[in-house]
């Protein structure tokens, strides 16, 4: 069963095209990352799915059905900002959320404990720090133990401990078989927690699929020698690399992650009478991968 299917979704704000015909589907049981730089249309997309925004054209389905409020009740959603009544306590705010969801009222102490807000449950929401507001929003998503969660940049504004805890929580939820749809502009975050990814760029879908395939990483071994005329010829006699290219007088050899053996490479060239004066193992940076995908 597909949790979410979107077809040719478009959203125009006057002349600005926030979404330009995006289609993909989210299978059950996965952690689905929607990745893209700021302004790429992630929140617009999730806003349409939650009936907060009206699409210019296109359709979407939740649980393979035409969506209505009962589907939204089955999904714990945190969209963009923590939205609560400032003058009410954290606990009373959760009671209101539970009343709308028609589930999870008995669950309030448990979710408050999960996000470490039990001690502050009687304080007004307006007195909470940014991180606490964020955690209350995540607690609200967990009310009634929903099978699907939609989290829009859930770690935004959290301190490093909060970020680590949130990622741990997402992993734990995934182990319980829950489906999580998560928007993020942090490639590293998507890579750490997601199984599937859709990459958005200026409202267009650049790529979608398994994280391993889309964000496949490579190790790069950079070698150099003086003179470097025979480098390429000798390198071709090795095996295990996937491709090579000359860059700035150095030769770059690309290997699947974890398979580059620098020692063997060094020995190979030495045995062919080449003494390397430059040998460096580089991990391809995630940022450069991100730029490659979105530029």
């Amino acid at each position: 069963m597909s949790i979410l299917t979107i077809e040719n979704l478009r959203k125009d704000y006057g002349r600005v095209q926030a979404l330009r015909g995006v289609s993909f589907s989210v299978p059950g049981g996965c952690v689905f990352g929607i990745l893209g730089p700021n302004g790429s249309g992630k929140t617009t997309l999730l806003g349409i799915i939650m009936d907060i925004l009206k699409p210019t054209s296109g359709t979407y389905k939740l649980f393979d059905e035409v969506p209505d409020k009962t589907h939204r009740r089955r999904i714990g959603t945190f969209l963009e900002t923590p939205n609560f009544y400032h003058y009410l306590s954290g606990e009373k705010n959760l009671a209101i959320s539970a009343a709308y969801k028609q589930r999870g009222a008995e669950d309030i102490p448990r979710v408050l404990e999960m996000v470490n807000l039990t001690q502050r449950k009687d304080s007004r929401f307006s007195t909470y720090s940014l991180g606490m507001k964020q955690r209350l929003a995540i607690a609200s998503c967990l009310l009634g133990d929903p099978d699907v969660l939609i989290l829009d940049e859930p770690t935004n504004g959290l301190d490093p401990v909060g970020i680590a805890e949130t990622r741990e929580l997402i992993k734990k939820l995934r182990q319980q078989g829950k489906t999580i749809i998560m928007a993020s502009h942090l490639l590293d975050e998507v890579e750490k927690v997601c199984t599937h990814v859709a990459i958005l760029k200026k409202g267009e879908l650049v790529a979608t699929g398994n994280v391993d395939e889309i964000l496949a990483n490579e190790d790069i071994v950079e070698i150099g020698a003086m003179p470097n005329t025979r480098l390429e010829e000798v390198a071709k006699q090795m095996n295990g690399y996937s491709s090579m290219k000359l860059n700035d007088g150095h030769l770059q050899l690309f290997y699947p992650v974890g398979t580059a053996n620098v020692e063997n490479i060094n020995r190979h060239f030495f045995e062919h009478d080449i003494v390397l004066n430059h040998l460096q193992l580089k991990k391809k940076s995630l940022e450069s991968k991100f730029f490659e995908l979105t530029n």
Binding site: I52, K69, R73, N83, F84, I96, S97, A99, Y100
Partner: protein, 276 residues
């Protein structure tokens, strides 16, 4: 819908402005009518023993429904203000989005607000009835339902004010702007109404063309125009002089209903069809 109202109650019961404005309004109705009652009894009657200004007490049982409705009508700004606060709060806190995300649809969201506007009008009307009874009996007259239709007009005025407040709230969304606009619009309509009344009198005098007081045909003034202070010697003199245009109550009444319908459709469309 009852469940949604219960949730609205969870939102307002700890909201200080709700308690304060609510109390102000209820005590205001009692206080304003007491002020008129007291002034009539202890000031005007002593200064005017001939009864030229008011032959009968405005709070005896042939007038109390009308007087209380008219006097209390000025306080209907308060429930309007409260509704603007409650609705713009949702936009400020972005909880209008969260409510829908959590599991209601856009229709539910606006319908329960309209229902609240209606309930506020009903509560105001019941308060007016109780106050009218108190001063009616205080005037030592026997119970009668003369001019009880004024209470109905009061209800119409209350729901009109509440709905226009609701409309401004969903159109403008920002608390300060919405309240400002509500007051500015009311001032503007009253000025326009005075100009139109002058024009109506001129038409009648110059061309013998009487289409009633056009000032009473504006959105807020239509329901205002249904409520008057009970007639006395002075108003009778003005009416008999035939300077004033004829008071077409039915036209005002139907226009008030029409405007109400427009506020209703407009505010619903705004919430249902646009981005939130």
């Amino acid at each position: 819908m009852v469940r949604l109202l219960e949730i609205e109650w969870l939102k307002v019961k700890n909201y200080a402005a709700f308690t304060v404005l609510g109390l102000f309004f209820l005590l205001g109705i009692l206080g304003a009518n007491y002020a008129v009652f007291y002034t009539k009894k202890n000031v005007i009657d002593k200064a005017d023993p001939t009864g030229l200004i008011a032959s009968a007490s405005p709070y005896d049982f042939s007038h109390t429904w009308q007087t209380t409705s008219y006097v209390s009508g000025f306080l209907l700004l308060l429930p309007g203000l409260l509704l603007i606060l409650l609705i713009t709060n949702e936009f400020t806190f972005r909880t209008h989005r969260q409510n829908i995300i959590d599991g209601i649809n856009r229709q539910d969201f606006i319908n329960v607000k309209i229902l609240m506007a209606l309930i506020a009008a009903v509560v105001a009307t019941i308060s007016v009835m109780i106050v009218a009874l108190i001063f009616g009996f205080a005037s030592a007259t026997s119970f009668s339902l003369d001019r009880f239709e004024s209470v109905g007009y009061f209800f119409l005025k209350a729901i009109s004010y509440n709905m226009i407040a609701l409309l401004f709230a969903v159109l403008v969304r920002k608390t300060g702007f919405a309240i400002g606009l509500f007051f500015i619009y009311m001032g503007f309509e009253n000025i326009l109404s005075a100009i139109l009344q002058g024009l109506s009198m001129k038409f009648k005098a110059d061309y013998n063309f009487d289409i009633g007081n056009m000032g009473d045909y504006l959105p807020m003034n239509a329901s205002d125009g249904l409520l008057h202070f009970p007639e006395n010697t002075i108003t009778n003199m003005a009416n008999n002089s035939k300077i004033m245009p004829h008071d077409y109550m039915l036209v005002s009444f139907l226009l008030a209903l029409l405007y109400l319908f427009v506020f209703f459709i407009w505010s619903k469309n705004r919430v249902i069809k646009t981005d939130l």
